[in-house]
C-alpha cells in the first residue's frame, strides 16, 4: 500500500490499447548452434497482470526467461520492456531464481542478501524500513540476522522473493521458483506470492512446468509448444479472486482450464517426440 504511490503511472500519451503493456516479446528466437530452441515467441504482459508461462520440459522455458531478463541475447526478434528493447538486465525488473540455495549468498545474512541489490538503487536511509517491510510480507519478520543455510528451503525461497520485492521492480520474473520445495511448502508459497503481488502491486511473470500451479496462480496462462518453441495458446483464466486452494480448485472452470492446458502440453510433447 505504501509502495503503491511510488509507482509511476506510465503509458500516458501512448496509443490506447498498448498503453498498459509493460513487457512484450516480438518474434523472439534463440538458437544454440544448429539447435533451435525458441522459434519466434510473441506475447504481451500488461501492467499488474499475473501471467504464468507453462510448457513441457525441454521447451526452453528458462531460455525464454533469460531472454526476457536481459541475461541472454536472443538470436532474433526482441524483448521490449517499458518501451525500450532489452539489451541488458533492466533496472525495473527482478528475477527470482529456481535455485535459491545458490542465488542467495551463504556468507551473508538474509538481511544483507536482501539489501545487496538495493545498494545501487536506494539511499542508505531508505533501506532498513523497506527491508523490514518485505521480510514481514514474506513471513520472515525478525529472521534477518539468520544465514540462508540456517533456514529451510521454503524460508530460503521466501528470502529470495523478499530480495526481489525489495528491489522494487515493475516486473518480477520467477523461474520455476517452487520446483525444489515440498508440496506443503509449495502451497504456502503460492498463496504468499498471490498475497505479496497484491500488496506490492507488482506485475508477475511466473514460469513453471506445473499445470495446476499455472492455472491456480495466473490471470493468464501462456502455453508453450515443445522445442522449437512457439506460443501454442494464450489463455485468459477467468477464476474469481482471491484464489483459494480449496474453493478455486473445486470450480468446474478450474477443471476445464486445467484439462485444456493439459491437452495442449500432451500434444506438444507427442509432437516434439515425433519430430
Amino acid at each position: 500500500m505504501r509502495m503503491t504511490e511510488t509507482y509511476p503511472q506510465t503509458g500516458t500519451g501512448s496509443a490506447p490499447g498498448s498503453a498498459d503493456v509493460v513487457l512484450e516479446l516480438q518474434a523472439l528466437q534463440k538458437s544454440y548452434g544448429a539447435a533451435k530452441i525458441l522459434a519466434g515467441v510473441d506475447f504481451q504482459i500488461r501492467r499488474g497482470e499475473f501471467v504464468c508461462v507453462v510448457g513441457p520440459s525441454g521447451s526452453g522455458k528458462t531460455t525464454l526467461l533469460k531472454c526476457m531478463a536481459g541475461l541472454l541475447e536472443p538470436s532474433g526478434g526482441q524483448t521490449v520492456f517499458e518501451g525500450a528493447p532489452v539489451t541488458e538486465p533492466p533496472a525495473k525488473l527482478a528475477v527470482v531464481f529456481q535455485d535459491y540455495s545458490r542465488s542467495l549468498l551463504p556468507w551473508m545474512t538474509v538481511w544483507a542478501n536482501v539489501e545487496l541489490p538495493m545498494r545501487n538503487k536506494f539511499g542508505k536511509a531508505e533501506r532498513p524500513a523497506r527491508i523490514e517491510s518485505v521480510l514481514e510480507a514474506v513471513g520472515l519478520a525478525g529472521k534477518g540476522s539468520l544465514y540462508p543455510w540456517q533456514m529451510s528451503g521454503g524460508m530460503q525461497q521466501r528470502a529470495a522473493i523478499a530480495r526481489g520485492l525489495a528491489y522494487q521492480p515493475d516486473v518480477l520474473l520467477m523461474d520455476e521458483p517452487f520446483a525444489a520445495v515440498d508440496a506443503q511448502t509449495r502451497i504456502e508459497l503460492e498463496d504468499l506470492v498471490l498475497r505479496v503481488r497484491a500488496e506490492f502491486d507488482t506485475t508477475v511473470v511466473f514460469v513453471t512446468h506445473d499445470i495446476d500451479e499455472a492455472v491456480y496462480l495466473g490471470d493468464r496462462v501462456i502455453v508453450l509448444s515443445g522445442a522449437p518453441t512457439t506460443v501454442s495458446r494464450n489463455l485468459a483464466v477467468d477464476l474469481p479472486a482471491p484464489r483459494n486452494q480449496v474453493r478455486t480448485k473445486s470450480l468446474p472452470e478450474y477443471a476445464r482450464l486445467r484439462a485444456e492446458v493439459f491437452e495442449l502440453i500432451q500434444s506438444a510433447k507427442s509432437h516434439a517426440t515425433i519430430r
Binding site: 536481459g70 541475461l71 545458490r102 542465488s103 556468507w107 545487496l116 541489490p117 545501487n120 544465514y147 533456514m151
Partner: protein, 287 residues
C-alpha cells in the same frame, strides 16, 4: 573383536543420548579432544620405540642417536641465538616467497580463469613447468643470484606457486552460474560483484592453495639452504652433519618439521573465522 563393537556402538549412543541440536556439537568436541589425545599418544609411542631401538643398538652405529638426546639438543638449540637466526632466515624468506606467490598468482589466475584463449594457450606451459622439481633449478638460481636470499626466493616461487595458482583457477571457474546471473540481473556492478560474490566464492580455494603452497615454500627453502648454501635451517643441518653433531642435526630436522606443522595450523586457524559459512565448517541447524 571387543574393540570393533565398541567403536560401532559409540556414535549410536551419541545420537540417542542427546537432543538433535546439541548432538553434533558435543560429538564434535569429544571427537576433537579424543583425536588430540590419540595423536599425542602416538607421538609418545613413536618416541619410546625410537629410544628403545637406538639404545638397544638396532640402528647402525652412529646413525641415529636416542630420542631423549635429540630432544635435549632441541631444547638446547632453543637457547642459542644461531638457531633463531637460522629459523628467521628460513621463515622470512618462505613468507616473502609466499607473498610474491600471491602477487603473481592472483592476476595470473584471473587471466587464465576468465579468458578462454589465455587458458587454452598457457595450459601446456603450465603443465610442463609444474612437475619440474625446484631442486633442478638450483644451478640456474645460483648462476643468477649466487647463494643468496634472492636465489631462495626464486626457487620458492618456482616450486610453490602451483597449488595456489591451480586452486585460484578452479575457484574462479567454480563461481556458480546462478550467483553470477543474480549479480547481473540485479545490476550489482563491478565493485559489488567482485567484493560480495567473486572474492568470497574464491576464498575457500585460495586458503587451501595458500596452505599447501606455504608447506612447499618451507620445504623448498630448507632444501635450497642445504644444497645451495644460503643461510637458514637447511644450511645448519648440513653443517651439523658434516661436523658429526648428529643430535644437533636431528634436532634441526625436528625444528623444520615443527615449522611446517605450525604454518599448516596457522592457515587452518585462519580458515575457521573466514569460512564460517562454508559447508565444511558451518554447523547446520534448520529452524
Amino acid at each position: 573383536m571387543e574393540m570393533t563393537t565398541q567403536i560401532r556402538q559409540l556414535p549410536a549412543q551419541a545420537r540417542e543420548g542427546t537432543g538433535r541440536r546439541t548432538a553434533p556439537r558435543r560429538s564434535f568436541a569429544a571427537g576433537r579432544t579424543g583425536r588430540m589425545a590419540l595423536g599425542a599418544g602416538t607421538v609418545v609411542a613413536v618416541m619410546a620405540v625410537w629410544e628403545v631401538l637406538a639404545r638397544s643398538g638396532a640402528f647402525p652405529p652412529g646413525s641415529i642417536p636416542p630420542a631423549s638426546a635429540v630432544l635435549a639438543e632441541f631444547i638446547g638449540q632453543l637457547g642459542t641465538l644461531g638457531f633463531w637466526e637460522a629459523l628467521w632466515n628460513t621463515v622470512s624468506v618462505a613468507l616473502l616467497g609466499l607473498l610474491l606467490i600471491v602477487v603473481v598468482a592472483s592476476p595470473l589466475a584471473l587471466l587464465i580463469g576468465l579468458v578462454r584463449p589465455v587458458q587454452e594457450s598457457v595450459w601446456f606451459v603450465l603443465e610442463f613447468l609444474k612437475p619440474i622439481p625446484p631442486v633442478a633449478l638450483i644451478p640456474l638460481g645460483l648462476l643468477l643470484w649466487g647463494p643468496s636470499p634472492g636465489m631462495k626466493l626464486f626457487l620458492i616461487v618456482m616450486g610453490a606457486i602451483w597449488p595456489l595458482l591451480t586452486q585460484l583457477i578452479y575457484g574462479i571457474r567454480e563461481i556458480n552460474g546462478v550467483g553470477a546471473e543474480m549479480a547481473r540481473s540485479y545490476r550489482l556492478g563491478r565493485w559489488l560483484t567482485v567484493s560480495r560474490l567473486v572474492v568470497p566464492s574464491v576464498l575457500p580455494f585460495a586458503l587451501t592453495g595458500l596452505r599447501i603452497s606455504a608447506s612447499i615454500a618451507v620445504i623448498v627453502a630448507v632444501v635450497t639452504e642445504m644444497i645451495g648454501g644460503a643461510a637458514g635451517l637447511g644450511q645448519n643441518i648440513v653443517v651439523a652433519q658434516s661436523a658429526g653433531a648428529l643430535a644437533e642435526m636431528y634436532a634441526l630436522i625436528l625444528a623444520a618439521g615443527l615449522l611446517g606443522l605450525a604454518i599448516n595450523a596457522g592457515f587452518r586457524g585462519l580458515a575457521k573465522p573466514l569460512l564460517f559459512w562454508h559447508p565444511s565448517i558451518r554447523q547446520e541447524g534448520t529452524l
